[in-house]
């Protein structure tokens, strides 16, 4: 199950809520304002690392990172373009946390 998150974790509880429901192996894809979660050096770094450690792959949509001027992402986060988003949807059912 692919979880997409589109809200900034600084203003909205979506990320902290969604991670409670993650199952082992479920990937997360950050899109839109959600990508602020993976900016290197911010205070969500520990949360992102703990998700990765539980074998949940973490992705972020590169066009959304670029649009927001985020060039460095937290270690272990994979960036994908829209085609990569489609690839993830091929592999998984989708749970879009709005």
């Amino acid at each position: 199950m692919l979880h997409t998150i589109n809200k900034s974790p600084f203003e909205n509880s979506t990320l902290t809520t969604a991670v409670r429901f993650l199952q082992p192996g479920d990937p997360i894809l950050f899109i839109e304002d959600g990508v602020y979660a993976v900016q290197e050096g911010n205070r969500f770094g520990a949360l992102i690392q703990s998700v990765l450690k539980k074998n949940n792959p973490v992705y972020a949509l590169k066009p959304d990172l670029d649009a927001r001027g985020i060039s460095a992402v937290a270690e272990g986060v994979t960036t994908v373009d829209y085609a990569g988003f489609v690839d993830l949807v091929e592999e998984h059912q989708v749970n879009s946390w709005l």
């Binding site: 589109n6 839109e32 066009p63 829209y82 085609a83 489609v86 091929e90 989708v94 879009s96 709005l98």
Partner: protein, 119 residues
Amino acid sequence: MNIGILLKEGPYNHQASDTAYKFAEAAIAKGHKVDAVFLYNDGVNNATRLGDPPQDDRNVAARWSELAQNNGFKVLACIAASKRRGINDDVLIDGGEITGLGTLTDIAIRNDRLLTFGD
């Protein structure tokens, strides 16, 4: 893979419609079939052809209209949500259609994926 898209926010105010469009484009480019885009909540506002954005900006509704017609799918607006918000047949984009939530249920049932975009 057959894909349905549920779009829950109107154009411009939220990025949802842009992301859904970019995703649909990419899926089509990879050989997948977009079965339908279903508009719900303020998403029905994507179906009006009255929008007239600045020349240097994208035209969200026109873009959906074109993608739908070029790829054999419909942009479907929920009738109840549309009536509340003033979307009717007179203002509908080409490739758009007003329909009921039963159609969304069919879309959910018959496709490999139903993706939601919203706020």
